[in-house]
C-alpha cells in the first residue's frame, strides 16, 4: 500500500509539474540507443531516470530462478560549452543474484560537436567518449557462457571492469531545410574496448541507426542497434568462456550478434519533462547449431562424420553451440527533466517552425455557441413579428376595402 501511495503521489506531482510551465526542449535529445550529435547547451543540465524490464529464464545459471528482470538507470548531461557536454550515468540496479539486486555499472564521459551547434543545422557531427566500469561479479548467462562478470548476459555481451567506448555521430535534421518535415535521422558508429585481457574478452563494434518524427508535443521513432564482434566476414571464435575452466570453443556469426529494432515514442510536456517508452525487439537469427541438448550431443559426438549435421562446425573445432538466446523483447520507460535550463537558439527555432506549421483544430465553446444561436433566434423572432404586424395591417385594410369603407 505504501508503494502505491508513493507512486500515486509521484504521478500527481509529475503531472502538476508538467502542467505548470512553458515549453522547453532538450537540445541533445536522441532516441533510445541513438545519440544525437547536438550537445545540451552551455550551462544546461538534464537528468534522466530509466526503467528497463524483460522476461528471460535460465534456471540452472540464475540462482533464485528469476524470470522477470527489472533494472533502474540514472543519467545526467551537463553542458560545458555550446559544443561540449559532460555525461554521467549508472545502472544502479542490475541483474539480481541470490534474489538480491546488484549494482550494475557507472559511466562518465563527454560529447563534442562542431561549433555550429547553436543553429538548427541539417547535418550534425559529433563524438562521444565514455569510460564504463561494469562492477557486477555475477549474472545469469546464456547457457552458462561466462567467467565471473564477463560473458553473454540476456541483453548482450558484457565485460567486467573498465571499458572505453566511443561513438562517431552523424545526424540529419530535416526541419532545418524543410519546415514542414520534422524528421530526424541519427547514425552512430563506434567501439567498446575492454581494458582487461583474456582469450574470451573481445572488443565490440557498435552501430545504431534511427529515424524519428520530432514534433511539438510528441516524438515517434524506430531504430536499429547492433553490438557486433569482428564477425562481419565470418564467424568469430570465442575460446574458454566457461567458469569451470574448460577450454570450450563456440562461434558467433554476424546475424547472431545482439541486434534490436526499437519502436518508441516520447511525450513532451511544457516544462521540458519528457516521458518516453521504447520497445526493443530482438531481430538476431540463429546460424548453425543452437544451444539445445540435441545439438550439443550432435557436436560432442566423437563418431561425427562427413554429411552429419554440424560436421563443418566440428571441423572448425567448435565444441559448444551458440544461438542468440537474448531477451526477445524489452520494455523501457524513461523520464527526463531539466535541472538547469536555458533555451538554446536552435530549439527555439525548432519550436517556432513546429508552431508555424501546426494545424490547430478549432474548438467549440458550447456556452458561446448557444448564446450566438439564441441571439440569432431572437433576431429571427423580431423579424417575424415585424412581418406579422405589417401583414396584419394589410389584412385590416383589405377588410376595410371589401366592406367599402
Amino acid at each position: 500500500m505504501k508503494y502505491i501511495v508513493i507512486i500515486f503521489s509521484g504521478i500527481c506531482l509529475i503531472i502538476s509539474l508538467a502542467m505548470a510551465q512553458g515549453p522547453k526542449r532538450d537540445r541533445a535529445e536522441g532516441f533510445y540507443q541513438c545519440v544525437s550529435s547536438n550537445t545540451i547547451g552551455g550551462g544546461n543540465t538534464w537528468a534522466t531516470v530509466r526503467g528497463i524490464g524483460f522476461l528471460w529464464d535460465n534456471g540452472p545459471d540464475s540462482t533464485g530462478n528469476p524470470r522477470a528482470f527489472p533494472f533502474l538507470e540514472v543519467a545526467s548531461e551537463t553542458g560545458v560549452s555550446n559544443f561540449m557536454s559532460l555525461l554521467v550515468e549508472s545502472r544502479i540496479l542490475s541483474y539480481p543474484w541470490h534474489k538480491w539486486f546488484q549494482f550494475g555499472n557507472i559511466a562518465a564521459g563527454a560529447r563534442f560537436t562542431v561549433p555550429n551547434n547553436k543553429e538548427l543545422r541539417f547535418r550534425g557531427y559529433g563524438l562521444e567518449c565514455k569510460w564504463i566500469y561494469n562492477s557486477q561479479p555475477e549474472f545469469p548467462s546464456l547457457s552458462g557462457y561466462r567467467v565471473g562478470g564477463t560473458g553473454f548476459a540476456p541483453e548482450g555481451y558484457i565485460v567486467q571492469g573498465g571499458n572505453f567506448q566511443f561513438k562517431i555521430i552523424h545526424d540529419m535534421d530535416f526541419i532545418s531545410e524543410y519546415s514542414w518535415l520534422p524528421l530526424k535521422i541519427d547514425l552512430n558508429a563506434g567501439m567498446r574496448i575492454p581494458f582487461a585481457r583474456a582469450s574470451y574478452i573481445l572488443p565490440q563494434y557498435l552501430f545504431d541507426a534511427g529515424l524519428g518524427y520530432v514534433g511539438l508535443g510528441f516524438d515517434l521513432f524506430a531504430e536499429y542497434s547492433l553490438e557486433a564482434f569482428n564477425n562481419l566476414m565470418g564467424p568469430k571464435k570465442i575460446v574458454g568462456l566457461d567458469a569451470s575452466g574448460f577450454q570450450h570453443v563456440c562461434e558467433v556469426f554476424f546475424w547472431e550478434n545482439p541486434m534490436y529494432v526499437t519502436l518508441g515514442g516520447r511525450i513532451r510536456y511544457e516544462n521540458g519533462m519528457t516521458l518516453s517508452g521504447s520497445l526493443p525487439l530482438l531481430v538476431s537469427t540463429n546460424m548453425g547449431s543452437s544451444m539445445t541438448a540435441a545439438d550439443r550431443a550432435a557436436l560432442a559426438n566423437p563418431q561425427i562424420k562427413p554429411g552429419d549435421q554440424f560436421y563443418d562446425e566440428h571441423l572448425r573445432g567448435i565444441t559448444d553451440p551458440f544461438d542468440p538466446w537474448f531477451a526477445k523483447w524489452k520494455i523501457v520507460v524513461e523520464l527526463s527533466f531539466p535541472m538547469r535550463y536555458k533555451q538554446t537558439g536552435a530549439e527555439m527555432m525548432r519550436n517556432f517552425l513546429l508552431l508555424k506549421n501546426r494545424k490547430e483544430g478549432k474548438k467549440i465553446d458550447i456556452d458561446e455557441r448557444l448564446r450566438t444561436l439564441e441571439t440569432q433566434s431572437d433576431s429571427l423572432k423580431n423579424d417575424d413579428s415585424d412581418k406579422k404586424r405589417r401583414l396584419e395591417e394589410i389584412r385590416k385594410r383589405r377588410e376595410q376595402i371589401d366592406k367599402g369603407e
Binding site: V5, L55, N58, G277, L281, S290, K362, I364, R369, K387
Partner: protein
Amino acid sequence: MHALESTMPIAVIGVVLMFIMTSGQTVNRGRDEGTLSIPASNVMGNGNIDLFIASDERYSLSGFMFDPILGARIGISDMMQLTGQFIPVSKSFIGPVEAHLQITTPGNDNLRFFGMALSADLFLSSAPDTLSSTAESDKPEYNPYLFPSFLADLDWLALSKLLPFKMYLSIGMVDNVDLLPTYDQISLKTALEWKMFQHSAFASAGAGFYKEKSSRLGPGDASYKQSYFWIEPGGRYRLFGRFSIVGAVKLALFENTKENNPLQPELFKISIKVEAPLLFRETNTEAIRTLIFMERKKEKKSDSFEKRVATGKNLISDMSAALMGPQDSLDALDLDTKGTMKKRREETQKKMDEVEALFKQLDLEAQPKAPALLDTASSASRKSQ
C-alpha cells in the same frame, strides 16, 4: 512510520474525493469509448491520459482462469493513441504485455458518421515457448508478436439525434493472446452500442478462427480448420460523471474443433473494467454529443430555435460549420437552400412593399373625396396653423 502508513490511505482517498468533487456534474466522456471487446475507431484527445484496471474471469475446458489487468491509454495527437496494458499476476509468473498504436482517419475531432482506424498491435508474450526449433523446456523463449488490425464504426447520432447508436467492426489476427505461440489466428468482431447521456448498453458478437503452427511436435494445420462463435452483451456505467465501469459477459455459442489436439476456446467469460481519466480535456466530438443529448431534454419548448434544434441535423450542421471554419450557422446550410430562402424573403418583401404602396395610393386618391377620413390630428394641426 506506522502513523504515516495509516494516514496515507486516508490521504489517497481524500485526493480521489477532491478529484471527484472538482470534476463537477459534467460527463467526462472519452471519444475513444467503445465496447469491452471492440475499441472505437476514434482516438483520445491529444494529451489525454486514462488509467484502467480490469479483470477477466474465464472458463474453458482446461478450467477457470482469472486475469487482473492494469493499463493506460494516452492520446498522442488528434489522430493517434497508444494503449498499453499488462497482467501483473498470472499462472506463468506475469501475464502478457500489450501495446496498441492506433491511427484513425481525419475528421476524428468531429461527430463523424463513418470512422475507421488501423492499429499496430504488439504482444510481448509471457508464455514460455518451448516448442520452437531453438527452444527447450529449460531454455524457453518469450516471443513478441506484432500484428495489424482494422477498426470501423458508424455513429448514427451524426445523422439523426433520434438514433443514439454506434455500430462497430473489428478485423484482426489475434483472438486469444495466450494461444499466440501455438496458433495463427483470425478474429472478426462486431457490436451495436446504445449510447446514452452518461451510460451505454452494447451487444457484441464475433468469431475466432485458428490454425495450429508447426513446431517440433508436428507439422501444424494447413488451414484455419478450428473456430468458435460467441456473443457478449454488456454495458457501461458512469460513476460521478467521470469514472466508467464497463462490464460484459461472453458466451461461446458454437465451436468447431478437430479431434486430435483440439482447440480449447473460452466458453464463458465475465469481464469488468474500471476506467479513470487522469488527464482529461473535452473533445469536440463528445462536446457535440453532449450538446445533442442536452438539447433533447429541451424538446418541449417550441420556439423557432428549439424547432430547428429538434431536427438534430441542423445543430450538427451548425457545429460542423463551426469546426470547419464559418462561424455563422447560416453558412452551414448548403448554397441552394440559402439561395431559395433569400429569394422567397425578397419576393415576400417586394409584394408587401407593392401592397403598401397601393394602399398609400388609395389613401391619396380618397383624400379630396372624403376629407372626413382625415385623422383628427391632421385637422388639429391645420387649425393651429
